[in-house]
């Protein structure tokens, strides 16, 4: 990728020998995904084989999936998770678009202050705020509701705002000034000039927020503990009972609920890594 920056010819020839190169990278890749791979393979094994050492099931079965689909409220949980992830993504996006545009277009006097507050909020450990956030959500009677899962997470839009602001600030000033001289209203500039230019950045932020929220653990654990109102990540705990853990069902359910994200990743891995990259560079 990005061959244009450092052409092939400038790169040092041959680091490690070819086979060693493949061995190291394949080894590390395998080590990193091994437990998940093993979990997926196990989810196709019948109960009497579940601890067998053979990676492939001798008698493959979908029983675990049938169990996860019938005994586990998979539809409700996936629905809740989707609503939460989409709600947070859309909400943060709206805030970020309007916020970034306002900060760049009007350059209010408080801009440095706002930027400082946003940056500091990024550094605050989320776990240090959970108690009051939980109490506020409870006070609003939002426990076990979609609102409780979504609204408090909109407070952490700082990253989205700062990422978009970078792009708006990067636009040529003359473009907005020309529009202003032509008598364009602020919202017209936003709609016709800024939004089209921001499209790739907006896509990146949406992907980023959606995936991180889908995989989120702590907040749904706190505010939506009830079996049918929670998200898939928390719902997986329901396979643990006093009699022990139903690993077959658990692994089948974990596979099922990771599938949507993995499918999207397979189709658009380049786009997604780029989105994550932006969040890291800031």
């Amino acid at each position: 990728m990005r061959a244009a920056d450092t052409t092939l010819a400038t790169r040092p020839r041959r680091g490690l020998g070819g086979i060693a190169w493949h061995l190291v990278l394949a080894g590390v890749s395998l080590a990193m995904i091994f437990p998940v791979l093993w979990g997926i393979l196990t989810s196709f094994k019948p109960a009497n084989e579940i601890y067998s050492l053979s990676p492939l099931p001798a008698a493959p079965t979908l029983d675990n999936y049938a169990h996860a689909l019938t005994e586990w409220p998979v539809g409700l949980l996936v629905g809740n998770t989707f609503v939460m992830a989409a709600g947070v993504a859309i909400g943060q996006l709206l805030i970020a678009i309007l916020g970034a545009f306002a900060l760049a277009y009007f350059t209010p006097r408080a801009r440095p202050l706002v930027l400082t507050l946003l940056t500091i909020s990024l550094a605050m450990p989320p776990q240090a705020l959970i108690i009051p956030q939980f109490l506020m959500t409870a006070k609003l009677d939002w426990l076990n509701t979609d609102l409780g899962l979504i609204v408090p997470q909109l407070g952490s839009s700082a990253l989205a705002v700062l990422l978009l602001l970078q792009h708006v600030d990067g636009m040529p000033v003359s473009l907005l000034n020309a529009a202003r001289l032509d008598g364009a209203k602020p919202w017209e500039s936003l709609w016709h000039i800024v939004l089209p230019a921001l499209r790739p950045a907006i896509a990146a932020v949406t992907i980023l927020v959606f995936i991180t929220t889908w995989n989120d653990y702590l907040w749904p654990l706190l505010v939506a503990p009830r079996q049918i109102d929670t998200t898939v990540q928390i719902g997986l705990r329901q396979f643990e009972t006093a009699e022990g853990t139903n690993f077959g069902g658990l692994l089948a359910a974990a596979t099922l609920t990771s599938l949507p994200i993995l499918a999207v990743y397979l189709v658009a891995s380049r786009r997604i890594t780029d989105a994550f990259l932006q969040s890291g560079i800031k």
Partner: protein, 276 residues
Amino acid sequence: MMVLLLAWVYGPALFTAVLSFLEWNLTGAPGGFVGFDNYARLFREPEFGQAAGQTFLYAAALLPFSTVIPMFLAIMLWQRPGRASTVYRSLLFLPVMVAPVAVAVSWRFVLNPLQGLANEVIGAFGIAPMNWLGNPASALIVIVLVTSAKVTAFNMLLYSAALSTLDRRTLEAAKLERASAWETTRFVVIPQLHTTTVLLGLLSIVLAGQWVFTNVSVLTQGGPDGVTDNVYYRIYTLGFEFFETGMASAAAAVVLLFFAIASLGWLLVRRINARR
């Protein structure tokens, strides 16, 4: 935007400070003002001190996984661009995509003390089965390794991005000088990645305790004997398992104060460096 930020981030930060001076156990009505009592109790309990110590231990243990290891992986991928390296890059990034809970439950299955794969494998070498998550020596290592996959995956991506912006003239010069691949890597490439390394190292030190949260919660709940605990998980345990709202808030306030001081220090260092 600012309303939400103030209501759900800065409000709670202040609220935390207020709560830390009250006596309250979440279920009843808020109790009266108790001054620094919660702080005194917090610092008296050995668990919090231990959790703080373990937080630093996590920071040290995860440091190589966030700097050296992803750096070498990224350099290897960068040295031989092509289809194979694209495939490896996608595979290596997978841990960021998979839900942390799914990863953690898979690990718990593999490490199952009765018939788990890990024990079967070491059994084949004649080693007695281990209670991986119940043994203080192995539990911490397991949490660090499980968390490291995601950290390494993400930072490898950042190193790859940094590599694509290397100064190509220096690489051409190295080639003219007939420098070996290792020499080029050691004396040309790695020094140019210095900024990235410092930044990722600092981030890792500060955030390591937060990164392990899900794995601690799913795999060990801070045990055995608190070796896998850390301040963030302790806040959760105090607040939502023991319902010690006051003490949990005091712990959160200590963490916030620590971050405030660290950020100020960071700003100060940057300002001094900028003036030079």
